[in-house]
Structure formats: C-alpha cells, structure tokens
C-alpha cells in the first residue's frame, strides 16, 4: 500500500513548529525620521520599502475555552498579492534570561477569498485596522515600523483615524523552535537602536 495511513496528516511541506521571536517598542513621530535613517544604515542594502496593510482580526468562539484568534492581512499597496493569514500562539514562558518574546506562529498565504472562507468556518471579525509604514530586513531579522490607524467605517480603508502620535516598532525573526541564539542577535541589534527606540520583550497578556 503506497498511500500513507489515513491517521497521518498529509502535511506535505508545511513548517510545523515555527516560532516567532519578537521585540517591540514605540517611537514618537518626531523621532521617526532619525530612526528610519538609522535603520536604513543598519539594515541590508535593499531598496527601502513602504507598505500599507489592512488587518482584520477574526475570532472563533467555541463552546468552551478561549476563543481562537486569527489575523488576516492584505496589502493595500499591492492588491494582487495574496492575503496573509496568521495564527499566533501564547508566548512561551520559557526562561527569563531569553531576550525576546517567543511564540508559536503559523503563516499561511491564502487567496483573496479568505474573508468569505473564514466567515463560513464560523470566524467573526473582531476588529480591523490599517497599518502603514516601513519594513526593513537584516539577515533573518525583520524590522517593521508601522503607524496604526483605526478604521472608522467597517471595511472602508480610506476613512481612517490615527491611533496615536507614535509608531510601533517590531523586530522579529521566524525560526524553528529552539534557536535561542536568535534572541541574542536581536538584542544586539536592538542595542544599536537605542536611545531612539527601546525594544523590549512585551507580553501582550499583561496589557489586556
């Protein structure tokens, strides 16, 4: 019998245990330019890229337990690009000495029928926002500096309102579980951004 036993998931090439290492911080609009300037100098020599994304956060409420949260994101600047569907696990408690927040992560690139499909699966949109900003890379590290805006009329991304006078700075690395050396690299990179921005390990649970 050539076919695999039915009980085995047909995971053909999916990356099963990917982890996101994350450091976050924020920068005031006044200091944004100098931060971008520094990032341009520190990061890889690729044309600096801006982005404009629309993110929808979906919840699936089950009978028991916590609701299941998925983030669906599409690019406003590149409407033909696939949607990005993202599942983020709970931050690992792990050891305190680790410099970055570590959480399980599943990234799915999906076709444009994603919102309809999620609705059909029983997900309901919780909230949505527009993020615009700059994205940099340094090796495996990705730095996203984004300005978040609230969507005033659901679904209309033209009608937005800025959330604050500062931008969100995220330094992240995607790696298979157990690659803690990553967090060391991230820390030294974050050091170089001081004092413009202090990137820290922020546990989202403590802020809710």
């Amino acid at each position: 019998m050539e076919a695999p036993p039915v009980t085995v998931m047909p995971v053909t090439g999916g990356a099963i245990n990917m982890m996101e290492y994350l450091l976050q911080g924020s920068v005031l609009d006044q200091a944004l330019d100098s931060l971008l300037h520094r990032l341009r100098g520190l990061c890889d020599n690729i044309e600096p890229d801006t982005f404009a994304d629309h993110e929808l956060v979906y919840l699936l409420k089950g009978q028991q337990g916590q609701p299941f949260l998925l983030r669906a994101r599409r690019s406003l600047a590149h409407p033909a690009a696939p949607w990005h569907l993202r599942y983020l696990g709970q931050p690992e408690v792990g050891d305190k000495s680790r410099h970055a927040l570590v959480r399980n992560c599943v990234d799915v690139a999906a076709s444009h029928s994603l919102p309809d499909f999620l609705n059909e699966m029983g997900f309901r949109m919780d909230h949505e926002f527009v993020a615009k900003g700059h994205v940099f890379r340094k090796g495996a590290m990705k730095v996203v500096v984004s300005k978040l805006s609230r969507v005033l009329v659901p679904g209309n991304t033209d009608n937005t309102e800025q959330l604050s006078l500062s931008s969100l700075v995220e330094l992240s690395v995607l790696a298979p579980a157990g690659q803690d050396t990553m967090s060391e690299d991230m820390r030294s990179f974050a050091e170089q951004l001081k004092p413009l921005v202090h990137l820290e390990k922020i546990d989202p649970k403590k802020h809710t």
Binding site: F51, D53, R73, S75, P82, V135, K142, L174
Partner: protein, 648 residues
C-alpha cells in the same frame, strides 16, 4: 680692552667711635677711633678690584699675575709681608689699571695709524670704532630699512604662496584623505582601528570572505625633509590573500592543436603604471577587490562543478576547473593570482601567445554580477508586511496554485558553470563552422561559397548566411542560399525554401552537407541557365535513385532539350563522383552542331530510316568534360548549349 675698572671709592667713617664695652654702670668704653690712614687702609682692603668687570676677569687676573711677577722683582722687601702693608692691593689694582691704559693708548695709536692694524667690524669690541661709526650707522640704518622693506615685501609674497601650499598640503592630510576614501569605500570604526569593506556583500554577493582592509595613518614622516611626491598620509592594509593581481583565465584546448583561432587577440592587461600622484590606495583597493571577485567566481564555479552532474564529470584541481564540452575538447577555467614578488617566476609558457578566451572571461564577470543582482532582487520585502521574509515568487506559488512546471521554472537557476560551458560550446562551434566553410571555399573553386556572418549575435546563438554561386553567373544562378543558425550543441540549417536541417556539432556533417549542396547547386545552375538559353527542362531530380551510390548525399540530375528539340543534354552531378554530361541528338537530325566546340556527337548506325521516326531520340554520348573549354562548369555548359543550338 676696556679701561680700568671704574671704581668709586667713597671714604667715610660711619661712626666716630665704636663702643668697645658697656660697663655695668653704663659707662661706655670706646674703641679709640681709627686714624685717617688706618680707616682708609681698612676700607681700601674691602674693595675687590677684580670683580668690577666680569668680562675682563681673566684678562685682569692674567695681567695681575704678570704684574705681580714684575713687582716681586722690584719690591722684594715687601714681598713676604704684603698683608702688613695696607695699600698693597690698591696699589696693585691701580698699577694694573695704568698698565692697561698704556696698552690701550698704544693700541689706539696703532689703529689710528692704520698702517699695521685695522679694526675689523666683526670684532666684538666695536667700542674702539664707535665715534666715527655713528654717521655710518645712520646711513646703514636707512639702507637696511630699505633692504628690509624689499625683503618684507618678498617675504609677504612668499608667505602667501607658502600659505597656499600649506593649504593644499592640508587637503592631502589624513582627514581629508580619509574623507575621500570614505566617499568611495565602506568604512567603519572598530575600537581604535578603521576597517573598510572590500567585499561585494552589499551588492548581493554571498561569498563568505570577510574582505576587510585596514586604514593606517602614515604619520612617521620627517617634517624637515622634503615630502616625497607620492606621499600620502593614508595607506591601506589589505589581507595577504587578496594582495597582488588576479584574473580568471578561460581557454579551450584540443588534443590536436588545430583548434584554430578563437578570437584570442593578445590584449592581456599589463598592470597599468600608477600615475604619479594618483591615489595609491584606490589602485590597491581596486586590485584587491578584483582579486576577491575572481576568487568568488572560482569558488562558485568549483562548487557548481562538484554538484553538477554531467556525462564527463568536471574536474576541480586547486585553482583549475576542467570540463569537457565536446569529446576531445577541454575547457579550462583557472584563477591566476600573482602577488607582486613572483613576477620573475613567470614561466616561459606564459609568454607564448596566450589562448585566453577574453569573451568568456568578460562574460564570467558579467554573470557573477548578474548572480549578485539576482540575490538582491529576489529578496523583496513581503506584502503584506506581516508575511514572512522569503522569495516573492515562491510566496505566490501556494495561493496561486502554481503547477509543477511553473514551480520548476521559479527554482531553475542555471549555474554559472553551465552557462559558461554553453557559451564556450557555442564559441567553439561558431569558430569551427567558420573554419569549415572557409576551408571548403578555399578547396573548392567551382562553385564559389560566400559566407556572410551577422555582426550581432547572442551568447548562445549566431547566424551565418551562406551563398553558393558560380563565378560570372551570380545574377542568374541564385539557387542555394543557406541560413546557418549556430546554437550551443547543433547547427540548424534553414534552406531558402524553408526546409530545416539540424546538424550536430560534428565537423564532418557540416562539410558533407555543404558538399552535397554544392553539387546540387551545379545542376540547379544548369536549370537556370537552360531557361535563359531557351532550352526546355525535360526532367529534374535533386536526388537520383539510379546510378552509383554516393557516399555523401545523393547525386542530382537534369535533362534539358534544345529549343528545336534536336538535342538533349543530360547532366548528373554527385558530391563525390563529380559530373557527367551526356548529349543526345535526334536520330534524323543532320547533326549540324556535331563536332562543334570539340564535342564528339556522332549519330549511330541508323536502322530505321523512315522520316516519321526521325524525331525519335538516339543514343547518349558522353562529353569529355575535362577537355571542354571554359573556366568553370556553368561556363562550359553555356558553351555546350550554344554549340548545340542551331543558328537561326
């Protein structure tokens, strides 16, 4: 000699009487006052005559000593008790002064006479000439002032120019030099060192060599010495493995040395002499960067050579990669790295006309840069920004449901080595095709071959148009025009009528094909000629199925009849067997043209005499072609046809 010491001698008694003792009752007993002479003697004793003038100390003492000796002779009595005589020292001093005055007087007298002695102004004791020089001094002062002002003006001009040179020197100083270095090279400061980056990493290179150089301040320079012309306050230190010059050498070798010229003009770069005053560091760094790039090319090629599977495995030996594009042919790519000291070690072999394939060497450099660019451009930022980093096109593959072939296309990355081998094959095939055609054209005079090469071609494809013509008949015989598209492995021949023939890389195939085309051309040409001459084509075949079998291709044949139908000429031409021409005439024909032009056409014995059989054709007689007049086949043919055509 200055005059005697100017001593002011003031004589006074400070106190009349000195208290010797105060008794208990307050009565003071005085010391009896010194007599006039006593006190004078006492005071005079206090005077130190020698200390009056420091500069003349020695003179005085020497004259003192001299004088004392004289005195000893004169006054032997007092000699043993000089202290007993209170005026002794005074007398000595005064006497010395007198002597000196006398000497002075003499000297002045002598000087005044100017007969024996002149005072030189250099001498320090200008005091002697003081009085007459006052006026001179004034005039001298004025002259000096004038000279001084001239000098000052000059000095001002000089200082201005010195200022300017200092300015330019300042420009050449370390910091400005560093700034210039900084504008062309990537620098960073590590600790107290300044390190630079030679690597192509920022341009997309993945070569692991760190490629750093160190900037050194050249300060140990003697400021007093003349600054050498090529002095530069900044120098760079390049890692030892990147020093010297390097280049990639690509060559094609064949076991037999008849490979021919592959466009190997000797344009080997002589290391350009560094211009004086040129930026030495820039020359250094560019050379080192070139070494680095060459190393990267070789590393990339070696890696691919090991990974790539081919029928004949590629061989990598040290700095050498050997590949076999075609059987019996060897493509070798090697890295030649010469550090400066080894210049003399050039083996004589290198002085031979080198067999570089400069085109390929250039293309290798171009390819590695394309490769760099590809790594840069394939890493575009994800959209939306939250998506993971990675190749954009692979990100699309999932949601766009790319099928296998599309994914394979995305991933197919033809390596540097594959590309360069393909290019080498093409270059080889092209040059050999050219050689084959040329040698055929030389060997075969009739028909003629013309090859028109296109100037513009691709790295993998070029084309040549081959015309086969007969001399003097170019206008009427345009039968064979071939377009040869030379590819990587094979040659595609496009016939004028649209037929496509694919030839392999074997030289023989092309040669055979050309020979068969040339033989066909002759028959075609006769056909064209027949039309012009008014003859009728009775039959024509490119590939005759009869007769002896040719080794190459097929023979072609043609039969034409004269305008009045009395004669027929049959031509058969094969690539190997050459041509045979036969002439047939009508039985009943008078054989008017018989024998004309050396053609032996004779009617056979006629059995059927009836006139109606006269139009039947008779037997064929072969023409002794080699004895025909005419410079080429078609000209001979024209003569033959002309001979067989009855005069109007």
């Amino acid at each position: 000699m200055s005059g005697g010491p100017a001593v002011r001698v003031s004589i006074e008694s400070s106190c009349e009487k000195q208290v010797q003792e105060v008794s208990l009752d307050g009565v003071e007993t005085y010391v009896p006052p010194l007599s006039m002479s006593q006190s004078l003697a006492r005071l005079a004793q206090r005077i130190d005559f020698n200390q009056s003038d420091d500069s003349n100390d020695e003179d005085v003492s020497s004259s003192d000593a001299q004088w004392r000796q004289e005195q000893e002779e004169e006054e032997g009595v007092v000699r043993f008790q000089p202290s007993l005589w209170p005026w002794d020292s005074v007398r000595t001093a005064l006497r010395g002064a007198l002597t000196e005055m006398c000497v002075l007087h003499d000297v002045l007298a002598v000087v005044k006479e100017k007969k024996y002695m002149a005072l030189d102004p250099v001498s320090q004791d200008s005091a002697t000439a003081k009085v007459p020089q006052v006026l001179q001094l004034v005039s001298k002062k004025r002259a000096l002032a004038q000279a001084g002002s001239v000098l000052l003006r000059g000095a001002e001009r000089l200082s201005r120019s010195v200022c300017e040179t200092a300015e330019s020197r300042r420009q050449r100083d370390f910091n400005s030099e560093l700034l210039r270095l900084r504008s062309q090279w990537k620098l960073r400061k590590v600790g107290d060192k300044i390190l630079g980056d030679l690597s192509y990493r920022s341009a997309g290179s993945l070569f692991p060599h760190h490629g750093t150089f160190e900037v050194i301040k050249n300060t140990d320079l003697d400021l007093d010495k003349k600054i050498p012309e090529d002095y530069c306050p900044l120098s760079v230190q390049i890692p030892s493995d990147l020093q010297g010059t390097a280049y990639i050498k690509v060559s094609i070798q064949k076991t037999a040395p008849d490979i021919g010229d592959l466009g190997t003009v000797n344009l080997f770069r002589r290391q350009p002499k560094t211009r004086a005053g040129a930026l030495q560091w820039n020359v250094c760094l560019e050379a080192a960067q070139n070494v680095l790039l060459c190393k990267e090319i070789l590393a990339q090629l070696s890696r691919e050579a090991v990974q790539l599977k081919s029928q004949v495995p590629h061989i990598v030996v040290k700095n050498h990669i050997i590949s076999q594009p075609f059987p019996g042919l060897q493509l070798s790519i090697s890295l030649c790295h010469s550090t400066g000291e080894k210049k003399n070690q050039r083996s004589p072999a290198e002085n031979k006309p080198d067999d570089h394939l400069y085109v390929l060497e250039h293309n290798l450099h171009q390819l590695i840069r394309e490769f760099h660019k590809q790594t840069l451009t394939s890493m575009v930022m994800p959209h939306p920004a939250s998506a993971p980093l990675g190749q954009k096109r692979l990100r699309l593959a999932g949601p766009m449901a790319y099928d296998k072939s599309a994914i394979a296309n995305l991933q197919s990355n033809e390596g540097l080595l594959e590309k360069i081998i393909k290019q080498a094959k093409h270059i080889f095939l092209r040059s050999r095709t050219a050689r084959t055609i040329d040698s055929l054209a030389c060997r075969v005079e009739d028909p003629q071959i013309q090859a028109h090469w296109s100037n513009i071609n691709d790295v993998y494809e070029s084309s040549v148009k081959v015309l086969i013509t007969s001399q003097g008949y170019e206008q009427i015989c345009k039968s064979i025009q071939l377009q040869l598209n030379i590819g990587v492995e094979q040659i595609r021949v496009v016939h004028r009528d649209g037929r496509v023939i694919t030839l392999s890389h074997q030289e023989q195939e092309l040669q055979d094909f050309m020979l068969s085309q040339m033989s066909q051309h002759q028959v075609h040409a006769v056909q064209q000629l027949a039309k012009v001459m008014g003859w009728h084509v009775l039959s024509f075949s490119n590939h005759v199925g009869l007769g002896a079998v040719e080794n190459i291709g097929n023979a072609s044949a043609l039969t034409v009849a004269s305008p009045n139908g009395e004669h027929a000429i049959s031509v058969r031409n094969g690539p190997e067997q050459g041509c045979r021409v036969l002439v047939q005439r009508v039985r009943g024909g008078g054989g008017g043209g018989g024998g004309a032009g050396g053609v032996c056409v004779s009617g056979g014995g006629e059995v059927v005499q009836d006139l109606r059989w006269a139009q039947l054709r008779g037997g064929y007689r072969e023409v002794n072609w080699s004895r025909m007049e005419g410079r080429n086949f078609i000209y001979k043919m024209e003569l033959l046809m002309a001979a067989l055509t009855p005069c109007p």
